[in-house]
Amino acid sequence: MLCFLILVPVVFSLFTFLFTKTNDGAKSMALISSILTMGLAGYVSAQTYAAPMVMDMPWIPTIGVRFNLVADGMSGMLVLLTAIVYLVVMIAWINKEMPLPASFFGLMLLAQAGLMGVFLANDAFLFYTFWELALIPVYFLCSLWGGEKRIQVTMKFFLYTFVGSLMLLGGLIYLAMQVPSGDAYSLNNLIAAGSKLPAGTQNWLFWLIFIAFAVKMPIFPFHTWQPDTYEQSPTPVTIVLSALMVKMGVFAVLKWLLPVLPAGVAYWSNTVVILSVIGIVYASCLAIVQTDIKRLVAYSSIAHIGLMSAVAFSHNTVGMHGILVQMFNHGINITGMWLMVSMIENRYGTRDMTKLGGMASTAPVMAIALVIVSFAGIALPLTNGFVGEFMLFNGLFGAQIPNAMAMMIIAGLGVILGAVYTLNMIQKTAYGEAKAMVVAKDISVNEMIGVAIIITLILFLGFYPKPLTDMTMQVATALVR
């Protein structure tokens, strides 16, 4: 069952590569695949309420590698998020023309398969394989369909993440060699072997493994690839990067780092929290001075992820639960945000805020959607963002690190600064003097459907977050032992 979550996108992507010639053909292929995956993901995530789903078979027995997929509450939630985001993207892009559509959508689906694999893998070798495989299609997507500086920017992004990945590989090999018997790469064996390692070893091993995740999230000071890449990528890819790939980093910290190297984590917690908090304030300040909306959202994303990574190292149940909830919410909100950015760019022909204005009078529906999505981004009560951020701050408050209180207050600045840049952005785009549109049209039907899915989720999970919190409850408790 679980392997179909990976197989469906792969098969459809191959089919798209080989047989579709037209724009419409490629897009309908991608849409059908996303709907099928959505159905599967819905089923899988519903099952995780009762018990985790497991798929296990041998792969390379001599080195102790199994093809082992497990969907627990956390994996199920992320699989569901991946499916929803892909569905929304495919719906919203159904009427857009682009060069080489077969390759574009084929690569998008391949990236989805990689993401599903990362979220489901319960074997470190398998996890690493998918971790890399998710990156390759994105490399091609950014380099082929990106903006003017795409080639250098994407190469930088690729090399950053690849260095991280290789360090991760070294760390995982070292860990696997410590497993006395049985399958060297299964998560449980790694946890058993890793937590027995002497503290000194765990301390250097921590960075070997953490670098890859830190680059992916990204946390300060490993973030420099991120704003450029987000800006230069075509927007569907930016959505995949910021809503899903970033979650790979957070997810990996929770699943493959915290339980595996407890002593190393305890030793470095304070450092990572400080780095994360610096990142929150730093990114928020930079977001304020941006004029390009895409860069603004990119920096705001660093701030949001910084909060999650700070809490991840706080060793606190409510906080951990908050991360799981916020991972989903952030994915939904930022997808909505990018949809709005892409619509604005499409209508006005620019992303420069100084040249925008008056959307509320020329395209009122878009303006309303922008306001709702932005409010979720700054965690206004009754939006889903509030639920997550509340839990996160609660977690940071109870963090088992020195100066938890100070950290929480400084991190809290991020929320205030967030309100500053977000409201500023709304003001400059939606209000003020009405600027001429290139395409004088309010929201179209398919965009409406995409945005409606996002807004429904924002409001529903803001009023009634119980389905989400229930799904992730068990994992959160298990993570903080």
């Binding site: 027995p61 001599t62 394989t129 495989l133 082929l144 690729f158 690849f162 090999i173």
Partner: protein, 460 residues
């Protein structure tokens, strides 16, 4: 045994085929058939070999065990892939097609000796049988000055290294009174080690390092690989190199394994230097062919890991690495040789003109760079895991990982040229349907090794 004789006989047949058959195409086909036959002979020997007791021949001069047979099979399979993919290009080098292939069969014969020798004399013989035809192949494009230069350079440097090799063997003989691997191993011990033996080992490291282009003995490699006709560079950089490496490993495992603490650090530094020079210099090359020459130095650095690791996993790693490296490199060269201009700019826009060619080249480059689900990744994984398991040289593992990250840059530059830049690449020959089928087949082999490495490593 049969394979050694067969390779010689086939070489002789190829030599005379040039006189008897006028058609170059027929000669190439004959070479393919003979390589296939050689693979068959190897397969037969492997199937009938007794796994418990190795076959001993010629007064204990050759010892044919299952591992060397499996290595021979891998090498022969690589030769077959070479003949299929690049055989057509050999015809363009000059008029003596039969003789070129004859030389290749003699090189293979030398490799068989190198994988089965049991005395240092046989090792020397194998190295010479392997090297001399390579000097000729390097200079076979007689009208091209660069080719002649490559040949002369290779020959002079090779002659020196042969001298050093002989000196090393002599010193080792002086210290142990024997040429036999097992006797040498018995005579050497950590307590009272003869300085003569240590000097001999140092000479051997230098000589063998030269043959497999380990730094700082690598300086001949870029010029020779760049100057030689591309079709032969592909052969020398893969099959020739893997063979030399296997001989290196057999010597250090068999004869010098007991005193490994005395040479590990020297070899570790050689390895680190090889990785550093190979990878960093490759970044600055403007020609893809020259880049591949440096990358072959870098890959040799990874192979050396297996000697440092000295455990069961390392032996599996060697077999896997040889196959994955040979197949991927031959594949890349098969694409390169189709182009007129070997600079990066010459590849601009290849994806638009020949999508399939660009796609298979991407798979081969992925394999060389070590992206998961390709043979190259599994090979790198095995060597790294073997050295990690050994446990004393973790710094080298981390260093190698950093170097692997650099390698991604120059391998991906080719991909950038092919896919993301526009241009009108000039092809030197038409890409036929047969070419395409063979290239796709080879890329499937690369992926198959990457998904199921156990079929290569678990043969014992």
């Amino acid at each position: 045994m049969n394979a050694i004789i067969a390779s010689t006989v086939f070489g002789v047949i190829m030599m005379f085929s040039g006189i008897l058959v006028d058609n170059k195409k027929t000669v190439t086909s004959l070479a393919v058939v003979l390589f296939l036959a050689l693979l068959g002979v190897n397969g037969f020997e492997l199937a009938t070999a007794d796994p418990k007791s190795p076959q001993v021949l010629f007064n204990n001069m050759l010892k044919i065990d299952k591992m060397s047979l499996w290595f021979n099979t891998i090498i022969t399979a690589s030769c077959l892939i070479y003949a299929l993919l690049i055989g057509k290009e050999v015809r363009k080098v000059g008029s003596h097609v039969g003789e070129y292939f004859a030389l290749m069969f003699f090189i293979v014969c030398g490799l068989y000796l190198l994988s089965t020798y049991n005395t240092l004399l046989m090792m020397f013989l194998g190295i010479e049988i392997m090297s001399i035809p390579q000097y000729i192949l390097a200079g076979s494009d007689k009208k091209n000055l660069k080719s002649s230069e490559a040949s002369l350079k290779y020959f002079l440097m090779g002659a020196f290294s042969t001298g050093i090799l002989l000196m090393g063997i002599t010193l080792l003989f002086g210290a142990t009174h024997s040429f036999y691997i097992s006797d040498i191993a018995g005579m050497l011990n950590n307590e009272n080690l003869n300085p003569m033996a240590l000097t001999g080992i140092l000479f051997l490291i230098v000589a063998m390092g030269f043959k497999m282009s380990a730094a700082p003995m690598h300086t001949w490699t870029p010029d020779v690989y760049d100057g030689s006709p591309t079709a032969f560079t592909a052969f020398m950089a893969t099959v020739g190199k893997a063979g030399a490496f296997f001989a290196f490993m057999r010597l250090f495992y068999g004869a010098l394994g007991t005193i490994s603490s005395h040479w590990t650090m020297v070899l570790a530094i050689v390895t680190a230097l090889t990785l550093l020079i190979g990878n960093v210099t490759a970044v600055f090359q403007q020609s893809v062919k020259r880049m591949l020459a440096y990358s072959s130095i870098a890959q040799a650095g990874f192979m050396l890991f297996a000697i440092l690791a000295m455990n069961a996993m390392a032996i599996q790693a060697v077999l896997l690495y040889s196959l994955a490296y040979c197949v991927a490199t031959i594949g890349v060269f098969a694409v390169v040789v189709k182009l007129k201009d070997y600079t990066y700019d010459g590849f601009n826009g290849l994806a638009k003109k020949e999508p399939l060619l660009a796609f298979v080249a991407t798979i081969f480059l992925f394999s060389l760079a070590g992206i998961p689900l390709t043979g190259g990744f599994m090979a790198k994984y095995y060597v790294l895991a073997a050295l990690t398991k050994q446990g004393n040289l973790l710094w080298l593992v981390i260093f190698a990982l950093l170097m692997a990250a650099i390698s991604v840059y120059y391998y991906f530059r080719v991909i950038v040229s092919m896919y993301f830049k526009t241009g009108e690449p000039e092809l030197s020959s038409e890409v036929t349907v047969t070419d395409k089928i063979l290239l796709v087949g080879t890329s499937l082999v690369v992926i198959a090794i990457g998904i199921f490495p156990q079929f290569i490593t678990d043969i014992f």
